[in-house]
């Protein structure tokens, strides 16, 4: 395995692994806070039970997220010293801010997980809010750093050196808003609908279990609005990509020839040699309209990009199709759930919706993975779009296949352990049809 490929594989694997835990780390605290708040207002002990059980799972996942994030902060240098030497002073700022956000997240998570009996219920809920807010901020800051790699601003390039740095300007790069919005919504949608899916599946077996009913309500409250808003934010992202990263857009859409009134290709397989898409369904002028808001607009094709600067077109196109398809499914199911809720119908009684939710359990996470494949692979061969090539950023150390194998084994072991432990947690959830539903007189935690 060539060193560059090994380094890219290791980085891709580390990111793909970490993002799952990062997403959960952003989403779960909000679910726990909503559940705990509902307990405070309604006194229904199922919500307290829920917050406590979720917090156990979150403790496991957060720990793995923290350590896998640490791997990344070191790997930036271990694998890409050329990148960090160049980019450190420009995008260190969001990383520094992320450091503090992560600090708050870790501090208040410790208080939240271990403080049930040590602080007042109000202070406990507030600690949960702190975890949720700082978790969201950590994510936003890291995504801003990534956005800069797609749309590098805030410096002037002179003989390969960056001068006239403006780290704030770098944070305000054109990709920041659309990327942070898309990723934050994705975190809530993926976590919310995954949890909703798990409890929907359990409800299909035990329709009267109040614990799972409470869980489904809270999970949909967080996941469904995010899933409905996500296509709108996706449109914003696509418009940004169309304007600033034409090669990426062309790869996403498998758009080989620059043309006006370009059609949108759904599905299909890009034949890179023949420069055409096989078996795709074309919607006339739709790409021009979606990318630029004008059905006659010109959309740059891959023919406008030098061949050696193309990303892996089939991979990017396929990933993009997967993301959009899954996102559409999630938005549709969420709309239906919202419609039922608006008409005051019982979601729990609708077995068809429960089945659709259960079927969609992993979709948010698959969509997140696919979306990052589009972002990262679609930027290749650049690490910093138009500025630094990936092959110039890689470490000179040979034999990179060895750490790649090591980390692969490590991630497999961690994944197996996490799945095993979470399964244990879920299997322990209450199974009686009627859990205590009495209102407790004293709302303080037992």
């Amino acid at each position: 395995m060539p060193d560059l490929l090994a380094a890219r594989s290791q980085m891709a694997m580390s990111l793909a692994f970490h993002i799952v835990f990062a997403v959960i780390g952003i989403g779960m605290p909000l679910l726990m806070v909503v559940a705990e708040r509902r307990y405070h207002t309604s006194g229904d002990p199922n919500y307290l039970d829920l917050a406590k059980r979720w917090s156990k799972g979150t403790a496991i996942l957060f720990a793995v997220g923290a350590v896998s994030g640490t791997i990344l902060s070191f790997e930036l240098g271990l694998l890409w010293p050329g990148f960090m030497r160049f980019a450190g002073p420009i995008i260190g700022m969001p990383f520094s801010l992320e450091g503090f956000a992560f600090f708050l997240e870790a501090i208040f998570l410790g208080i939240y997980l271990y403080g049930w009996n040590r602080i007042s219920p109000r202070a406990h809920l507030l600690a949960g809010v702190m975890v949720a807010v700082s978790g969201m901020l950590s994510g936003i800051f890291v995504v801003i750093a990534n956005a800069w790699m797609n749309a590098p601003t805030g410096f002037t390039l002179l003989d390969g050196q960056a001068i006239d740095l403006d780290p704030i300007g770098a944070m305000m790069n054109p990709a920041s808003l659309s990327q942070t919005l898309h990723m934050t919504l994705a975190a809530y949608a993926a976590t919310g609908l995954a949890v909703a899916g798990i409890h929907a599946a359990l409800l299909l077996r035990q329709p009267h279990n109040r614990f799972h009913r409470a869980a489904l309500t809270v999970a949909l409250l967080v996941g469904a609005p995010a899933a409905v808003l996500q296509p709108i934010s996706g449109d914003l992202s696509a418009k940004y990509v169309a304007q600033h990263q034409p090669a990426k857009l062309a790869a996403m859409e498998s758009h080989f020839e620059t043309s006006r009134g370009a059609p949108l290709v759904i599905g299909g397989w890009p034949d890179v040699e023949a420069r055409e898409t096989r078996f795709g369904v074309e919607i006339p002028r739709a790409l021009s309209f979606l990318a630029f808001g004008d059905p006659a607009a010109e959309v740059k094709g891959l023919d406008s990009i030098p061949r050696e600067d193309w990303p892996n077109v089939p991979f990017v196109h396929l990933s993009f199709q997967v993301m959009v398809a899954l996102g559409t499914y999630m938005a549709m199911v969420s709309l239906w759930a919202g419609w039922l809720a608006l008409r005051k119908r019982e979601i729990v009684a609708n077995r068809r919706l429960l089945r659709l939710l259960a079927f969609g359990t992993p979709m948010g996470f698959i969509a997140v993975e696919a979306g990052w494949m589009v972002t990262e692979v679609g930027r290749q061969p650049w690490t910093i779009q138009g500025v630094l090539r990936t092959r110039d950023a890689v470490t000179p150390m040979p034999g990179l296949v060895v750490p790649f194998v090591f980390f692969t084994l490590l991630y497999i072991a961690l994944a197996v352990a996490v799945v095993w432990l979470l399964r244990r947690q879920i299997l322990q959830s209450p199974t009686h049809d009627d859990l205590p539903s009495r209102l407790v007189e004293d709302p303080r935690h037992a």
């Binding site: 930036l76 450190g88 700022m93 870790a106």
Partner: protein, 336 residues
Amino acid sequence: MPEPSLAVLLAGALMVSLNVYVVMGGADFGGGVWDLLATGPRRTRQRALIADAIGPIWEANHVWLILVVVLLFTCFPSVYARMSVTLHIPLTLMLIGIVLRGSAFTFRSYDSQRDDVQRRWGAVFAGASIVTPVLLGVSVGTIAAGRVPAAPSGTFIAAYVRPWLSPFPLSVGLLTLVLFAFLAAVYLTIETADAELREDFRRRAIGAAVAAFGAAALSLGLAYREAPLVWRELVGARWAMFLQLGTAVAAIGALAALSTRRWQLARAAAVVQVSCIVWGWGLAQYPYLLPPDLDYATAAAPRVTLRLVLTALGAGTLVLIPSLYYLFRIFKTRPS
């Protein structure tokens, strides 16, 4: 050219973060050492005490290391890049240690409480708690020895293995491990109201203090040959005399306080002692971040970056300090 004072300030902030990581996060690793070495009839209670002490705070303590890394690559990017290349192997192994320590510790808390299951996770947790500090120390020792060049040259072994796989860096690794264990044992005497457990850890703390003295002497001796710059400063410079004196007073003070069972004083003295050692290394290298050629002024990022980071550090600290205070007040108030 950046204002030198700004670069010094940030190098200082870096050292402070590293120092806090060592005295807080270091003790969490030390806890793992004592988990492994738990013996006698109170073995299970010792382990439970360690787990209770580390549980709520290790993740917050761990963030200090992230802060060190972020400050390093933002403010001194060439230092970070050079370290990452030459120290690729020890840093990678250290990372694996960090991952296994954190995850195994958490997995153990949430897995079945059956003995065999607990022991299996415990072994991973304790093993990783030993490997990680050693490799952290080895990396520091390699830097102190001036073996992190601008561009690696020669064979794979010469460029990526020999710089760190030699007696001096290894001795610093050993010293780091012993100091972390020392800190953990001293802190644990305060964490419990159980007099027997307190005595257990008192004995361990005294043992570790003696071992730390030996390890420090070994490192200093080896520095004469392998890290002459640091050795010269530590032995010859006037500031070093004061620092050596401070270390000695703190070390003796910690031992005396442990002997007379003045736990709070012992903890304070232990923190001072370990901090003196950290700063002794940092100051002995001054003005070099990577001796013998890369000093802080050359390595520093442009002024605008330094100034912004310093502002962020100031603002961040305002939020961080009360939060940390709250965390430690909740969990580290002495049980009555």
